[in-house]
């Protein structure tokens, strides 16, 4: 999409930057901004590139001076990491927990968001305000009693313990309620006159319109739960129930000096989200941005 831009300076271009005819000298191609952006991008990406480089080096290569690229790719580091720790289980646990929380939020926040936006029932206003107030409470404030509740339910060290506290978020309820309020009520009137129930209206009439907010909720819930560390750290202790973040932290303390294997493990733990991000960058970016702008 950017290929034609520099060739014709008079041409009106659609980009944000190019709207008004600012006083400027004719731009040469390639833009001088590359001189700023290339080093900047490199500095930001170097930690990840160095992780990747180390993960395919031998231990001796990481200790030589000056540092550089490995002579041959040491895939064995990944094999070692995979064999020595249950990365497969951890990735599976993280996937189960994240997907469950995403589904829980999509379904339960849609229901509650719609109820609070459009359905008239006793106590709705008060209950909604109380729910909203819990949004301002940092997790650290409630984590000790949350653990005690999970203990009382005999769920410590289990996947449900990881899922339950994030199954519904007040943020999700709020986000979807705001979306329902922004829809014209006329949409539902015809269905109501036809005698359709609330659930039917929600699933048949409104659901098809809910793409953008549900995408946002999906992306944010997934990222939050997948990358969550403190809660899984305190509620799981067995390697079989750990998520990949806690697993990685224990893996780190076990392989503190074997940097290539540690980096191989770190890379493995990040690959699923990195792939999702590269594939759906547009959705990630708009989801994160929309929470900031609103």
């Amino acid at each position: 999409m950017t290929t034609h831009i520099e060739t014709t300076p008079q041409h009106v271009q659609p980009g944000v930057d190019d709207v008004p005819a600012f006083r400027r000298s004719r731009r040469r191609r390639p833009s001088a901004w590359h001189l700023v952006l290339a080093p900047l991008g490199l500095v930001l990406i170097v930690p990840l590139l160095w992780m990747a480089t180390t993960s395919i080096s031998t231990l001796a290569e990481t200790r030589r001076f000056p540092p550089g690229l490995p002579h041959s790719v040491q895939w064995v580091n990944f094999l070692t990491a995979w064999r020595q720790s249950p990365f497969g289980t951890w990735l599976l646990n993280s996937t189960i927990v994240s997907v469950s929380c995403v589904v829980g939020n999509l379904v339960l926040c849609s229901l509650a968001g719609y109820a609070f936006a459009r359905v008239r029932f006793t106590g709705a206003r008060v209950v909604f305000i109380v729910l909203l107030a819990t949004l301002m409470v940092p997790f650290q404030v409630v984590m000790i009693p949350t653990l005690l509740i999970i203990k009382d339910l005999h769920l410590v060290n289990s996947l449900p313990a990881l899922i339950a506290p994030n199954l519904v978020t007040p943020f999700g309820v709020y986000l979807l309620r705001q979306f329902f309020l922004s829809l014209p009520p006329e949409l539902e009137e015809a269905a109501i006159i036809d005698g359709a129930g609330r659930l039917r209206i929600l699933t048949r009439v409104l659901l098809p319109l809910m793409g953008p907010p549900l995408t946002t909720l999906t992306v944010l819930t997934f990222l939050n739960v997948w990358n969550d560390f403190l809660w899984p750290l305190i509620v799981t202790s067995s390697p079989h129930t750990m998520t990949v973040q806690v697993g990685l932290a224990t893996f780190q303390s076990a392989h503190f000096t074997n940097w290539p294997v540690l980096m191989a493990g770190t890379l493995m733990s990040q690959v699923p989200v990195l792939l999702l991000f590269v594939a759906g960058q547009r959705y990630f970016v708009s989801s994160i941005a929309s929470t900031g702008i609103k």
Binding site: V19, A112, A289, I293
Partner: protein, 312 residues
């Protein structure tokens, strides 16, 4: 984010429901639809909030039944040197982290806000740290800044500079954590600012251009002032997250060396899950809660006041 949003409530519009039967059906439907969410948020949001408050007035070790402590947990906090050290370090961290991230991401957003060839590659480089987990960030920076074999010390030596202790140095550990977390959050700030820049009305830029304004001048005098609400949101959001710093500390320094990088949440974690002082930890948690609420409301009040001063 929520704090910034919540004060402006849109007009509530409920569909005119038909007769009494329809209204009764709505009663039932409303509660049926809302109750799962209400149940879970109540159980894992409200109940622990109250419980935590009660716990902060008790002595508890998670095992035996708690005993009443009155104000003694809070009183002990005021005499706890490590707690005060953690407060000072958390504030120092916040005071460094928030402005650096804010200004850094504004500049990066300004650089990225143009249509040139390959811009998507640069954007990818800036955004990828956003999705990198805090644990992975900590592990990677632990390697980069390893005092013996880390690449940063190799480069320093090559440049003829002395090698540094980084995370193992009492003087440097906290600053390394600042640098590492700025790296992790820069992309988030950039994303928010980019969205803000792109929502600046084009007419404003056109008017500036007609007045013979240069592009750089237009950026600082037209676009940046339009970013005030976005910046206010970011300041609040970054502050809240800075005060809650934990993951990166746990992975890199474990609060050390000699408490040099112990922040409030890390100390809270230690008290609760290493020393099993649940009541004492709950007291720390409530102090943190009040501090976050006060700072957030203070920042919001300040921005509104500044806005009013500008307007008049």
């Amino acid at each position: 984010m929520t704090v910034a949003v919540a004060h402006r409530r849109p007009p509530r519009r409920v569909l005119p429901s038909g007769g009494r039967r329809a209204r009764r059906a709505d009663q039932l439907a409303g509660w049926a639809m809302a109750s799962p969410a209400v149940f879970f948020i109540g159980l894992f949001g409200l109940v622990p909030l109250v419980w935590s408050f009660v716990l902060s007035f008790q002595h508890s070790n998670f095992q035996t039944s708690p005993t009443w402590a009155g104000l003694s947990n809070y009183r002990a906090l005021t005499h706890d040197p490590v707690f005060w050290q953690s407060v000072r370090q958390t504030l120092l961290y916040t005071v460094l982290f928030v402005p650096i991230t804010l200004i850094g991401s504004l500049l990066v957003a300004a650089a990225l806000n143009r249509k040139i060839r390959g811009i998507t590659v640069y954007r990818l480089a800036v955004f990828v740290p956003v999705v990198t987990s805090t644990v992975a960030t900590g592990v990677i920076f632990g390697w980069l800044l390893d005092p013996n074999y880390g690449v940063v010390n190799s480069l320093l030596e090559k440049a003829g500079l002395p090698a540094q202790g980084f995370f193992t140095s009492t003087r440097e550990a906290l600053f390394c954590i600042v640098g590492m977390t700025v790296w992790g959050w820069l992309g988030f700030g950039t994303l928010i600012f980019l969205a803000g820049l792109q929502s600046v009305p084009k007419e404003l830029l056109e008017a500036a251009a007609i007045d013979g304004c240069t592009r750089r001048r237009a950026f600082w005098s037209v676009q940046v002032p339009q970013l005030r609400p976005v910046s206010a949101f970011l300041v609040v959001w970054l502050t809240i997250n800075a005060l809650q710093l934990f993951d990166e500390v746990y992975v890199t320094t474990k609060g050390g060396p000699l408490h040099a990088s112990t922040v409030v949440v890390y100390y809270l974690y230690q008290q609760a899950f290493q020393f099993f002082h649940a009541g004492y930890a709950a007291a720390i948690a409530y102090v943190l809660f009040v501090a976050i609420l006060a700072l957030t409301l203070g920042e919001l009040w300040l921005t509104r006041r500044l806005d009013r001063d500008r307007a008049s």
